[in-house]
Amino acid sequence: MKISFPHMGYSYIALKWLVNHLGHECIVPPEPSKKTLDLGVRYSPEFACIPFKILTGTYLEVAEKGAEIILTSGGMGPCRAGYYWVMHQYLLDEIGKKVKVIAFEPPLCNLRDFWQKLHRLRVSGGLSVKAFIQVLKITWEKIKAIDDIEMKSYHIRPYEEKRGETTRALWKALEFVDEANREDEVDEARQEGLNVLQGVRRDESRDPLKMGIIGEIYVVLEPSANHYLQIMLGEMGVYSDRSIYLSSYTRKNTIVNLEGDIFQVARPYLNEAPIGGHGVNSIGETILYARHGFDGVVQLAPFACIPEIVAKSIIPAVSRDFDIPVLTLFIDEQTGKAGVQTRLEAFVDLMEKRRELKRQRERWAI
């Protein structure tokens, strides 16, 4: 069968491998482009959130290329994302595309459904249970390797001597992972990839500002949805960190994840969790970034994103109490790269001045 899935950052590298090694044919989703968005906007409800629209566009694009099945995630709410696949199926049916959307509901929500879907995928691809598990395992290792490499690139880029070198190194590193086929090969690829990034010529005398990135998962994970914000920041000489990676639910590898229960951190401001999406996380993470001496936080959210609006209404209090500036960027189909860049530059300027002032004050205090 011809199978596709949503485009989310660099994860397609691992998912492509997965589909192919399950014995199916992979239709790799193209990176979301203007065309994707236009298609999505045309066929989605007007007030659907931007991730929904981008996915609509992506699904239509892969359907055009012959995809018969789209694998995606389900969800238990409370936000709209868990209902995306149902709506997408309705829309695809209405347009007359013969594509089936298969969503993996979280095992917690419906365990039987989860196993049944896995089982069908395995059997239709003709794999033994053992081989199937091995394929899943290698895919997971790939996802982790990709995340590690991407994360590293954000830490290296603000120091790069030659603009664009980190991005080139990043792609090279991702290629290694792409080519790996066994567990040990993935591990090697990861190491080698990290080395390539480490090898980027850097100016260590720089003192980059530190920025935390929070917000809704899709627009945070998909660089094309946020106009490559983290790369933009890196090239402005700003070090950025985020807690949301596909693999971060199960790992303690980011600043935020090391701190334990994020809901607990947010509790004094929002006495309810979860509220859907990353709403509560956004509040808690702002606090943690402040505590870790970050200079500022950017909240990335789809326009009209419900949980992020709740977060936004509460963040001013957090920002005041913890003395950390927060810039909220609501993204919709109107948002242009230039607009994002201008607002980001102004914000970085502000952080620069604040840091200078703070340091002066500290000097005087001594």
Binding site: P45, E46, F47, A48, C49, G74, M76, G77, P78, C79, R80, G82, Y83, V86, M87, Q89, Y90, L91, E94, C109, Y269, L270, N271, E272, I275, G276, G277, G279, F303, A304, C305, I306, P307, I309, V310, K312, S313, I314, P316, A317, F330
Partner: protein
């Protein structure tokens, strides 16, 4: 015990649960202060106080809460997490804005009275509703005995209210009947003087707030249309409709609107379905498209969607309703 003044914003869940809350507080010996019906002043105030990306109903809530400042000792703003008392709870909860409402309110305005933000999460167990009321009553300084009595009475009044709704009374009228303590009449079989039956579904806080929907229900009444809403349908029927969908949505009020609409789509005497939606409401972007598609698939029922926002004018709503009603009549005569 000290007598407290409990402020209740006349919006959101008010239209469905007011008799329960009011009876409870009054039986405990407290005084209930209700904000005035929505007006331009209340809306403007809400727009000013709430985060500007919020939907109107949430802004409106801020406006109503602000109107209670200085008039009440408490604002009753329960955090609604799950309220279904039977059937499949599944993953149902409320729109994230409901979940965060008490906190949004608290941080938006400094001069509000203390907020009673007791968490209502009935899926936790059979006893949960009692626990909720026990918590409220204790906070107000009442004894367990008093709380028990008030709770029993409140539930009884709420049941009467519910019965009125099932008898196809609209909440504004039903609330008045309950208020005047008129004994619940037997089901009115006379039929009334209408010549068209239409279902109107949507959130109670949009449907029954005559200001925010520009008097939609009154306009329909003048047009001799009998209006049915999702709140006239039993929970059992709702649960039955839920099974006809691939998956339920996660939001209580959205689900009710959807199941209600699906129910009416299978009743031949109901000639059209109107969905009243709040402009820029997140869940509604899905509810609306789903209903639009289902109304076509389920018997090609005429479907109209009306979105209301800060600037909705009576003229605009009237024109669209009249056109819809004319179309329904034309369609019938053609048959």
């Amino acid at each position: 015990m000290q007598v407290s003044k409990i402020g209740i914003p006349r919006t959101l869940a008010y239209f469905i649960y007011f008799p329960l809350w009011k009876t409870f507080f009054e039986e405990l010996g407290h005084e209930v202060v209700l904000s005035a019906a929505t007006s331009k002043a209340i809306l403007d105030r809400g727009v000013k106080e709430a985060v500007n990306d919020a939907c109107i109903p949430i802004k409106l809530y801020h406006g109503h809460a602000a109107a209670l400042a200085g008039k009440a000792d408490y604002i009753f703003c329960p955090r609604l997490v799950s309220v279904r008392s039977h059937g499949d709870f599944g993953t149902e909860t409320f729109c994230p804005k409901f979940l965060g409402l008490p906190d949004m309110l608290r941080l938006a305005m400094d001069d509000l009275p203390e907020i009673i933000d007791v968490r209502v999460d009935l899926k936790k167990g059979k006893d949960e509703l009692w626990q909720v009321f026990l918590e409220i009553g204790s906070k107000l300084g009442n004894s367990g005995e008093e709380i028990k009595r008030a709770f029993t009475k409140a539930k009884k009044v709420q049941r009467e209210y519910q019965r009125l709704l099932y008898q196809e009374k609209l909440p504004p009228e039903a609330l008045e009947l309950i208020e005047q303590k008129i004994p619940v009449p037997k089901k009115d079989k006379s039929g009334g003087s209408y010549d068209l039956q239409v279902a109107v579904v949507g959130y109670p806080y949009v449907l029954y707030d005559a200001y925010i929907n520009a008097g939609l229900l009154a306009i329909l009444e003048k047009e001799k249309v009998k209006v049915y809403t999702q709140d006239m349908i039993s929970d059992r029927e709702m649960n039955r409709q839920a099974k006809t969908l691939p998956k339920s949505m996660f939001w209580y009020f959205s689900n009710r609107a959807v199941y209600g609409a699906l129910h009416f789509m299978q009743r031949p005497e109901i000639e059209g379905v109107i969905h009243l939606t709040a402009f820029a409401c997140g869940p509604d972007s899905m509810v609306d498209r789903l209903l639009e598609i289902e109304s076509r698939r389920r018997g090609n029922r005429p479907y109209l969607s009306i979105a209301v926002d800060e600037h909705t004018g009576e003229a605009g709503v009237r024109t669209r309703l009249e056109a819809f009603v004319d179309m329904l009549r034309y369609r019938r005569n053609r048959k």
